[in-house]
């Protein structure tokens, strides 16, 4: 990423410019909606109502948010080390495989309070392992991590299809799914937990893993900005040569950053497999890994920004589903389109508006200075 010009105040750089970029993305999305003959404002109203207007909508929105926090953090921590992890999709897939294997092996013998940490560890270990290979290849063999992580997404897909169709499928059924986990291997749904304290809400897939997602946010923030390792990680990301002089070992940092990134992406499997489906199946990452790129870019690679961007994408996903349901000419893929535009405007064209904003800011300063001079005179 190229750095922004230094002369703008911080609030414009991290507050105003991202908002301008998102507005540009939404503007183009609105034009697309106009082009297919619908009213963009009505569409937006349906989306917001569908995502936030009632209990079930909010539950689904937060369930999507959980996945986006995991993949957004995964992309963000890799970005801080100067790496681009496009492999979130594959890491989520393999992370889910880890959760599934662990729970399938122990759900009849262990209680829930042991299966919970086991599930987290399995998701982290499998996701990290899947990210560690491209990381190692980048650090020690010089192969480009973007290309290898793309390739690993496809390889993960092949591995999962093979395992589900040939090995893990429950005998005597056609669809490639494993047997269902015993009750001890289910994460409690939020509606179940709320029912326990006497609050009734509509059942949704939202489950305990959202709490874990927020814990991960704090953990990533502390790791990046409050530990020596995080400092080294950022140093390597900014300037590898300088970091070496400061005593950091870039190869170790590349592998460590990618392992953490992979573990975070693997938690999508924790949410989906242990929290929602309660069995191993195919296609559960459903593009969350790619959305993580948009989330991270939009959230400026900071956990707080990632949470905000994740909520926004949660709204888009849930609202988009509602929109597709209510307006027959609009499909869910509109959300994918918006996601692409967000990546384009907040990522690739992130500093397109900077020259204009700088000019406007200078003009404003000049105007103010002029007014002050006039007042003194």
């Amino acid at each position: 990423m190229s750095a922004p010009p230094a002369e703008l105040p911080r609030w414009i750089d991290i507050g105003l410019i991202p908002v301008i970029n998102i507005c540009l993305a939404l503007l183009v999305s609105g034009l697309i909606i106009v082009a297919i003959g619908e009213n963009p404002f009505a569409a937006m109203a349906i989306m917001i109502r569908g995502a936030l207007g009632y209990g079930e909508g909010i539950g689904y929105t937060l369930y999507y948010t959980t996945n986006f926090i995991f993949t957004g953090l995964a992309v963000a921590i890799a970005f801080h080390a100067g790496l681009f992890n496009i492999g979130g999709e594959g890491q989520a897939y393999i992370g889910g495989l880890g959760v599934g294997l662990a729970i399938l092996a122990f759900d009849s013998s262990l209680p829930f309070f042991l299966l919970l940490p086991l599930g987290i560890l399995a998701a982290a270990a499998f996701g990290a392992a899947w990210a560690a290979i491209p990381a190692w290849l980048q650090a020690y063999r010089g192969s480009h991590i973007v290309i290898t992580t793309i390739m690993f997404n496809f390889i993960a897909y092949a591995v999962m299809v093979y395992l589900m169709v040939n090995v893990l499928i429950k005998p005597g059924q056609m669809s490639p799914e494993s047997r269902e986990f015993a009750d001890a291997g289910h994460l409690p749904f939020i509606h179940e937990m709320l029912a326990g304290i006497g609050i009734t809400v509509t059942p949704t897939p939202l489950n305990l893993s959202i709490v874990w997602a927020l814990v991960c946010c704090v953990g990533v923030w502390a790791y990046i900005w409050r530990t020596r390792w995080g400092y080294e990680l950022r140093a390597v990301g900014h300037n590898e040569a300088a970091a070496v002089y400061a005593g950091a070992r870039p190869r170790h940092i590349v592998v460590a950053a990618m392992c953490i990134s992979g573990a975070l992406a693997g938690f999508v499997g924790f949410n989906e497999i242990m929290g929602v489906h309660h069995r191993l199946l195919l296609n559960f990452p459903a593009g969350y890994g790619f959305t993580g790129i948009a989330v991270s870019l939009m959230g400026r690679n900071h956990p707080v920004g990632v949470v905000l961007a994740s909520v926004l994408f949660g709204v888009l996903y849930q609202g988009g589903a509602e929109l597709a349901f209510e307006v027959p000419t609009i499909t869910r893929e509109l959300v994918v389109t918006i996601q692409g535009l967000v990546i384009l405007f907040s990522g690739a064209l992130a500093y397109m508006s900077t020259p204009w904003v700088t000019r406007a800011w200078r003009a404003l300063l000049g105007w103010r200075a002029g007014a002050a001079v006039a007042e003194e005179a």
Binding site: I147, Y157, E333, L344, A350, Y351
Partner: protein, 324 residues
């Protein structure tokens, strides 16, 4: 013996059909990457072109208009990529990812809005497509043993765009390695500063490279939807843009080796389809998904430097900033 020979010819025939879009995309990516612009949006450009070409063919019934529209669509996306990466010094990988995701959504959104068929375009009549061409004498020579069979069943009988793809390889080689433009294009991918110092515009050179990339991916997309198939289906590229990228890297960013890699990957795919459920001697039944994943695996192994070494153009991925 005769049967085995026909089997080989048919497999080779399938290989050519599968390899055609790979070849076009790999050549496209080669121009872009040799000039220093990473292009992981081959997939998106091809998909966009496939959709627009099929739409135009469905509405106008003219394959030539469809080809023009497909090329125009891919070129627009290429210009967008260039605008982000060359003009605004944006991250090239991010821009590529954005284009891929944008197109995979937009083609379905527009497809449903325009044709109301769940993202498909209407099936095309033969006159709206590029149909197989019989080369001269192919019927006459069909009965000649071996050579006649090869000529009439392997060389002849493909559609125009297949021949375009196979001609694109020597042409790409000639442009890149035998013309002044090609020399400069390769130089700008290795050392843009030197090219700039010589008074040649880095920006204009890279834009031309990106435009050629758009042209070739446009032909590839058009091939998919109106030559090899008779309609656009959602996500019909199905990762072939990435396979082409893998082939380009596997071929070490060179035309003939990349061409070889495309044929190899196409062959693997053709064999995978034929081997579905057939047990092999000594190995047993090979799961088709593994043969399909083999191109990716081979590329990873090659990139890791275990088999030869793929060295990318030196300035790849770095935006060129003229003034510091």
């Amino acid at each position: 013996m005769e049967e085995a020979f026909v089997f080989v010819v048919l497999t080779m025939n399938a290989t050519i059909r599968v390899a055609t879009p790979l070849i076009l995309c790999a050549m496209a990516g080669m121009f872009s990457e040799r000039s220093g612009v990473i292009d992981i949006s081959l997939e998106g450009k091809m998909l966009g072109a496939a959709f627009i070409a099929a739409s135009v063919a469905a509405v106008t019934g003219s394959p030539w208009l469809a080809l023009t529209a497909g090329i125009a669509a891919a070129t627009c996306l290429a210009l967008l990529h260039g605008f982000a990466c060359i003009t605004h010094h944006g991250n090239q990988v991010v821009s590529g990812v954005a284009i891929n995701i944008l197109v995979s959504g937009l083609t379905v959104v527009l497809g449903i809005a325009w044709f109301h068929r769940g993202g498909q375009t209407p099936s095309l009549e033969a006159t709206a497509r590029f149909m197989p061409i019989s080369l001269p004498l192919s019927e006459y020579l069909a009965d000649v043993p071996v050579l006649g069979t090869v000529y009439s069943r392997l060389v002849s009988g493909h559609n125009l765009l297949v021949y375009v793809a196979f001609l694109a390889v020597p042409l790409a080689w000639w442009v890149l390695f035998r013309t002044r433009f090609g020399l400069r294009l390769r130089a700008v991918g290795e050392n843009p500063k030197a090219v700039d110092t010589a008074g040649i515009s880095v920006t204009w050179l890279r834009y031309r490279a990106v435009l050629i990339c758009g042209l070739l991916t446009g032909i590839a997309g058009t091939y998919l939807s109106i030559a090899n198939n008779a309609a656009f289906v959602r996500d019909m590229t199905a990762g072939q843009g990435y396979i082409a990228l893998a082939a380009l890297i596997f071929g070490k960013w060179r035309p003939w080796t990349a061409f070889g890699a495309c044929l190899l990957f196409g062959f693997l795919n053709a064999v995978a389809i034929r081997l579905q459920g057939v047990p092999l001697p000594a190995i047993g039944e090979v799961p088709v998904v593994f043969i399909e994943a083999l191109p990716y695996l081979l590329t990873v192994v090659l990139l890791a430097g275990f088999v030869g070494k793929a060295v990318a153009p030196k300035a790849i991925g770095e935006p060129y900033v003229k003034e510091r």
